[in-house]
């Protein structure tokens, strides 16, 4: 039962360590960015927003790991929840612009005036209140995941089928959000934000605070997720992952366990998206692209699925690699990413965390992947 070990109480300390590291890094970076520019320890605004972006992606990776690593649901559409959270935050930021837009209309965002809308669509209601917007960040992905998951798990859609329809879901959302008529800025999405809760989004202090908030949220999500997947619920999830039918025959309700973790994970992804938008300053339909979802799966695979901390590590490392690669050898990034997929699936089935496990513990026996196909599922 090697696969169980990282997911149980044993790695609680590991999760706390990762949460602490993530938070500490944000504090240090934020502090350094506030130093005067002449100071050799000064960190530029670019690095701060880059770090914020990585950590937002880490939250997305964490949410993917929750469903893939623990419940065995390979989601190819999780970026949809990330982007929905992002749009909910984007709506609030858009309303914060107020009369400072090009057209100076206090109620309508510029793109709506441009498309000659007369009033805000109903779903924009209340988006000027921060608390309501934060609620939307949670409930919009949550409701979508709830409906989708309830339908899918109840009728026992699983394995590759589920992966493909999650991909179709995010693809359909991408097509929908590209349309101007939907009221989310179409092609261009939401952008040109000015401030958040009255604080200038471009000032170093706001950026530093946002980075620290992202670090804190990431640490919180990590600990909350660890708590959720530990103990009885965690064992149930892993049992569902490894032998769904046997679990069902033992009297459990696998679909309920799956639905719970699926909705929770979607909400975590939504939070990640909201934090992403504040630091990147734009949200557009390309965030829904199926390729983004699949990339987030590789972050988890590289870090080590079913380890939580590994997904954070994977997201940060792969994105660092992407930033460096696209700066140095832009045309080789796709080769690099493709190879990463191949190498990870072929040689590192448990990712970097598994590798570390392997090296540190000097285990004599091979690290085996989980019993993947006991019932011939999906084969």
């Amino acid at each position: 039962m090697n696969a169980l070990s990282p997911s149980t109480t044993k790695s609680f300390s590991g999760t706390i360590r990762m949460a602490a590291v993530a938070f500490a890094v944000t504090i240090v970076l934020a502090g350094a960015s506030l130093l005067p520019e002449a100071n050799p320890l000064h960190v530029s605004a670019f690095v701060v927003s880059l770090a914020g972006k990585y950590l937002a992606y880490a939250i997305l990776a964490l949410s993917v790991d929750l469903v893939w690593g623990f419940a065995g649901i390979l989601t190819l559409g999780h970026a949809a929840f990330f982007a929905l959270g992002g749009y909910a935050m984007g709506m609030y930021l858009m309303r914060e612009i107020g009369t400072r837009g090009v057209y100076g209309n206090p109620n309508l965002p510029d793109f709506m005036i441009f498309l000659s809308w007369k009033s805000l669509p109903w779903y924009w209601w209340g988006s000027d209140h921060f608390a309501w917007a934060m609620l939307l960040v949670l409930i919009v992905p949550g409701i979508l995941a709830g409906v989708f998951g309830w339908l899918a798990f109840r009728s026992r859609v699983s394995g590759v089928y589920l992966s493909i329809i999650t991909q179709a879901l995010t693809y359909a959302l991408m097509l929908a959000f590209f349309q101007n008529g939907l009221g989310f800025g179409g092609n261009n999405g939401l952008t040109d934000f000015k401030d958040i809760l009255g604080a200038d989004l471009h000032s170093p202090l706001t950026r530093a605070v946002l980075l620290v908030v992202t670090g804190a949220v990431l640490a919180g999500c990590l600990l909350l997720s660890r708590w959720l997947v530990s103990g009885r619920f965690g064992y149930l999830l892993v049992a569902v992952r490894d032998a769904e039918n046997r679990t069902r025959f033992l009297g459990y309700r696998p679909e309920q366990a799956k639905l719970l973790i699926w909705v929770f994970s979607a909400m975590v992804a939504g939070i990640g998206g909201a934090l992403y938008v504040t630091q990147v300053g734009i949200i557009n339909p390309s965030e829904f692209a199926p390729a983004n979802s699949i990339e987030s799966v590789i972050w988890v695979a590289v870090g080590g699925r079913g380890t939580l901390s590994g997904s954070v590590l994977g997201a940060v490392l792969v994105n660092c690699g992407k930033t460096l690669f696209t700066a140095w050898l832009p045309e080789f990034w796709l080769y690099g990413l493709g190879l990463l997929f191949l190498v990870t699936t072929l040689f590192l089935p448990q990712g970097l965390m598994g590798l570390r496990h392997h090296l540190v513990k000097k285990q004599p026996e091979e690290v085996t992947p989980e019993v993947s196909n006991p019932e011939g599922e999906g084969a």
Binding site: L151, Y161, A172, F178, Y335, F341, L342, T345, G376, G378
Partner: protein, 534 residues
């Protein structure tokens, strides 16, 4: 005395002027061309055609090409290169006046010229020319042309041209202001236009139906005909979209059969399938370029040569992928999905590095260009060919699956891998060949797609999600299911398109399939057998 002589002189001048005018008009129908007045020129052109002067055709032709010149002193000439021909006689002239000017044109003259040409054409000995002229008359429905149309109708023998002329007559008739006692003729005209049934007729009839000058009977008939034309147009447009849907469905079918085979036999969703299609399309291009460079006389059939080449290239590549990658991931379908996705990124980038990121121009051979009208449905030949090709491929594949030992083994492995292995089937070999076959089919899909879509490194991405939906919707490992799903998705999307728009149609189809999968998790035609998870 003095005053009297003034009057006298004026009278003489008047008489002279009047005489000269009469003399000019009576003497020669060409002299109007020498006047420099637009209206006179236009009238002259009409008169010339009506008179049936043998020189009329040449003069009108020259005027259209701006080769007609005149001398203010008198004389109209047609310029032919550097020499001149007298417009009146058709004889070449030696003594050319020095002050030649081109005969002037304005929009009025051009209009008259166009109808004059049409009139000349209506009397042409060639059927095609007459049909074209009649069509033009129909479109213009200029009341001034009625006598011409009647004249032509009297002589017309060809039934096609006659029908068109009758429609032109009806249209022109209805375009005229209403005169009393015409009700019967107008009703007949409405009926004739109804049989034409196109948008032109609809427009005219709508005007008639709304007109206050028409009798109620005519108005009613016109309104009824308008609604019947509308219905007919809707039916045609549905049929046209159904044809587009069929052709898109055929592409999906080609793309999805390969995917269905690998998934059915091995449980592998090959995310690089789209890239194999792309490689098939690039192979088509390479074959075309190669043939052009070496054996140009084979160029018209280069597409046919590309079909087996693309199949072999992609098939071999598929076997290579299976042996080099997939077999190490056996039993882990979700990881295979990730690995093939990685592979697809590498293949995409490789093609981008070799051929550049932009579209390449795959040539559509002449025998595949053009289209064919079936009623009002425009059947483009390349799409028709893809439709036929997809069914040939499907038929061949069914033969392979039913009549060959490889097919038997593949079906056995699909139904129950373990049992098949126990019976002595070498499942690794079947896996490799099945993957090769699936990849080869992707290559064939690539050849087909190269004829209707842009060929670029992104080609695979635009088909992969739709192909997945087809496989999942149809039910894995069942070719009939794949066929039904491809056609349903292709047609469904295109038929929804006119009412809700292209993007919404696509979204609607995706959502419908997602919902369908909830009800039928194994698709329309689930595989049944002991090995299949219940």
């Amino acid at each position: 005395m003095c005053r009297f002589s003034q009057f006298l002189w004026a009278g003489v001048v008047c008489l002279l002027l009047a005489f000269s005018g009469v003399r000019g008009a009576a003497a020669d129908e060409f002299s109007g061309l020498e006047s420099g007045q637009f209206n006179t020129i236009a009238d002259t052109v009409s008169a010339m055609v009506a008179s049936g002067n043998p020189q009329a055709g040449a003069v009108i032709d020259a005027l259209e090409k701006r080769h007609l010149v005149y001398s203010p002193a008198g004389g109209v000439f047609i310029r032919a290169g550097t020499t001149y021909v007298d417009a009146r006689t058709g004889q070449s002239v030696q003594n050319i006046p020095a002050d030649l000017k081109p005969v002037r044109m304005n929009n009025h003259v051009r209009q008259v010229l166009a109808s004059a040409t049409a009139e000349l054409e209506l009397l042409s000995p060639e059927d095609a020319v007459r049909l074209k002229a009649a069509t033009q008359m129909y479109a213009q429905h200029n009341p001034a042309m009625l006598p011409v149309i009647h004249h032509a109708l009297e002589r017309e023998k060809n039934s096609h041209v006659r029908l068109k002329l009758e429609q032109a007559n009806a249209a022109t008739m209805l375009a005229q202001p209403v005169q009393p006692g015409q009700e019967a003729t107008r009703l007949a005209a409405v009926k004739t236009l109804g049989s034409a049934g196109d948008l032109e007729a609809r427009g005219l009839l709508a005007v008639v139906a709304a007109s206050d000058h028409e009798t109620p009977e005519v108005r009613k008939a016109a309104a009824k005909t308008v609604s019947s034309i509308d219905l007919k147009q809707r039916v045609w447009s549905v049929l046209q979209n159904a044809f587009y849907g069929l052709s898109y469905g055929s592409v999906l079918l080609l793309a999805a059969t390969g995917l269905a085979i690998t998934f059915g036999v091995m449980g592998v969703i090959n995310m690089a399938h789209g890239e194999l299609m792309m490689i098939g399309a690039y192979t088509t291009w390479l074959v075309q370029q190669g043939i052009r460079a070496t054996v140009p006389w084979l160029e018209p059939v280069s597409l046919l040569v590309a079909i087996p080449v693309a199949f072999c290239v992609c098939g071999l590549l598929g076997i290579l992928i299976e042996r080099g990658l997939i077999r190490f991931l056996y039993g882990r379908p979700l990881e295979t999905l990730l690995a093939t996705w990685g592979l697809s990124l590498i293949l995409q980038q490789a093609i981008r590095s070799i051929f550049g990121p932009t579209n390449i121009a795959v040539i559509t051979p002449a025998w595949l260009s053009g289209s064919w009208m079936l009623g009002s449905v425009d059947i483009t030949l390349n799409r028709l060919a893809i439709f036929v090709f997809a069914f040939l491929v499907l038929g061949a594949l069914m033969l392979v699956m039913r009549k060959t030992s490889l097919g038997l083994e593949m079906r056995a492995v699909t139904q129950n891998r373990r049992m098949a292995a126990l019976m002595g089937i070498r499942t690794p070999r079947v896996d490799a060949l099945a993957f090769g076959l699936g990849a080869g089919l992707a290559g064939l899909a690539g050849v087909a797609v190269s004829q209707i879509d842009n060929v670029s490194p992104n080609l695979g991405q635009s088909y992969i999600i739709d192909s997945f939906m087809v496989v999942v919707f149809g039910g894995v490992g069942n070719l009939w299911g794949t066929l039904a799903a491809a056609m349903t998705l292709g047609m469904g999307g295109k038929i929804l398109e006119p009412t809700i728009g292209a993007v919404s149609a696509k979204i609607a189809i995706l959502v419908l399939v997602i919902l369908y999968i909830q009800r039928h998790p194994r698709g329309m035609f689930p595989v049944r057998g002991r090995g299949v998870e219940s």
